[in-house]
Symmetry: C2
């Protein structure tokens, strides 16, 4: 927690120190007078001074934790059960940890997630496509990830929320900071019904480089990044290229060849990007990664290891047929928002799936026995 | 010539007979009483009867030739100097021959040609893109090939004509038949300034299957096929898939994902198709085929073998700098249309190239000597 205040996101040199010395020792060296430059390879006294200044201001990680806890948040870092291990693919640029708000389990949601990103100043066509993809992916049980910005990002989040779907935002500011201001309600709704997260400690504000570095987290967290409208050299293309480097799917929505806002997407599609025109094509594509797709191979957790509330949600589903999320909530005796979060977790684990507006138990091939009822 | 009246385009069985027996013997067997079914493998008496009926009506190929000659046309078939040998890639579905109208050399024009095809009932966006590609390709010295239909085809032809470029149409009816009626002026202009051609003998009218079979000729003749707007299961996709099977480039112009008229193109682009947004991207792509690109390796014909008029056109170009096509015509003492045709032929042969609105001699690397001045 202290390191998220001392280090900027994506600082690979600091990531190497962290890997080599461990967090406790790194904080000690950065905050005490005897942490000499020699002990941190590649570090000059001048640069160390910069870290020291920020370290002095980070004397009280307890205060940061309290500030985030006050808005219902928590801190998740490598080694925690909730840590999304796919972020480790970022190597030394891996986030030190994530400040998270929202009820659901970040690791489980991230397992079946897709990013939908694009221009802030999108056209009505771009906004329509983003909302349509957000809804369609959520209806297919995918968690929609974006950056909570105006334009494509916001439309994608709203599209998912509109169908009672799961969506999460990776912010370039503290999770207690409302940016952009105009998205206060949307961000609040996501903190309630979805997840919002950030590498930055509470109170921190976005900068240009933080926006760009935030994109690598979106790319690494998800199975694929769909770009809906982007100009040449836009931030969304940075996300898409990160996704490509990380071996995730890079996906683009075509537009008129005459539209400058589609030029960046078309550039992508002339390279490695895959063209899609609707959510089913995205789902078909990202659903193909066998090694990340527990739903295709059966539950990754035995039913006995589910926590009590999640187990109750699972019990609330009938043996046959689909039911509405609100009915599940009533039967399980929890709120609709909480039920929704648990249902998406169970979906990531392969226990349940969406059917139209409702949810049902995942049918299992009989040759594997009745995996739903326990087993390994 | 007689066989173009007896056989329908793309009849592979007849193509095999033709390959095995030669045209003279095949006509004899199909038109005389002693041509028994046994002599033509795979032929039943009933089917042979069908060929016989048409053969009876084709007694006078001289009359067909006279009819086409009356509108300034000729017949070109395999073995002729003007035969575009890339059509041989069609195997037994190769056209028996082509009835051609227009001044220019079909073989030379086809060497540097690209097809631009698409929906008849295109949107204004589709028409704009087709015209834009037609102009841009013509400006880069490419011959624009299409089917003279309403919509995308017509816009592509007109785009090429608008910049004084070369364009040719492959028709699904006789070259003396004006179809569609509304394109009478356009087809007339192409017969004057460009080329029009057909597998069908004079007077023949288009049918649904002739439209579809015509597409394989467009695909085989050109280095690549660009599809601008096409619905699912459209004829343009047939052309594109033929192009793919023949090892030509299959190219598509994206449109809004919400447009049914772009759905077929997007399907193509999700497969083997390459996305392009302007003529320079098309030219870059199709210009890469080394084995079909004489312009990149120097002239394919020695200057001494050029016919007298073409040689005069070449003489009319200054040693340095570019001149207007009309000035070339004046210097060579021929009409502007004729000069244009010769310039495109010389372009295919690698002697000249376009520069803006004008033409200039192709610069040669000095290490190869002055290839323009003769040589081998």
């Amino acid at each position: 927690m202290a390191l998220t205040r001392i280090l900027e996101p994506g600082d690979e040199r600091a990531g190497r120190w962290l890997r080599e010395t461990g967090p406790v020792e790194l904080v000690r060296r950065l905050t005490t007078a005897d942490g000499s430059a020699e002990q941190l390879p590649g570090m000059t006294a001048v640069r160390l001074g910069g870290y020291r200044l920020r370290a002095a201001a980070a004397a009280e990680p307890e205060r940061d934790l309290a500030a985030v806890a006050a808005v219902g948040g928590r801190f998740v870092c490598p080694g925690d059960r909730e840590w999304p291990t796919q972020l480790d693919d970022l190597g030394d640029a891996r986030p030190i940890g994530l400040w998270v708000r929202g009820r659901s389990d970040l690791r489980l949601w991230a397992l079946r997630s897709v990013a939908v990103v694009g221009a802030r100043a999108c056209t009505p066509y771009g906004a329509h496509m983003a909302a349509h993809l957000g809804s369609g992916l959520a209806e297919r049980g995918w968690v929609v990830v974006s950056g909570a910005a105006f334009g494509v990002d916001g439309s994608a989040h709203r599209g998912a929320l509109a169908v009672g779907g799961a969506t999460m935002a990776v912010l370039a500011c503290g999770v207690d900071v409302t940016y952009p201001r105009g998205h206060a309600e949307l961000i609040g709704r996501m903190a309630e019904q979805g997840l919002i997260m950030s590498e930055l400690p509470p109170g921190d504000h976005p900068t240009r480089s933080r926006f760009i570095l935030r994109n690598r987290v979106i790319a690494a967290l998800t199975r694929g990044t769909v770009v809906v409208e982007a100009e040449y050299r836009s931030g969304s293309l940075v996300t898409a290229r990160s996704a490509q480097r990380l071996g995730r799917f890079t996906i683009g929505v075509p537009g008129p060849a005459t539209s400058g806002l589609s030029a960046g997407v078309h550039e992508l599609l002339r390279g490695e990007g895959v063209l899609v025109t609707d959510a089913s094509e995205v789902a078909e594509l990202v659903g193909d990664i066998g090694d990340l797709a527990p739903a295709r191979r059966g539950p990754v957790l035995p039913r006995d290891l589910l926590d009590a509330v999640t187990a109750r949600v699972l019990e609330a589903l009938p043996y046959r047929g689909a039911v509405d999320g609100r009915e599940v909530a009533r039967t399980a005796g929890i709120t609709a928002d909480e039920a929704l979060g648990r249902l998406y977790e169970l979906h990531s684990l392969g226990f349940v799936e969406r059917e139209g507006d409702g949810w049902r138990l995942t049918p299992r091939p009989t040759c594997n026995g009745d995996a739903r009822r326990g087993g390994t």
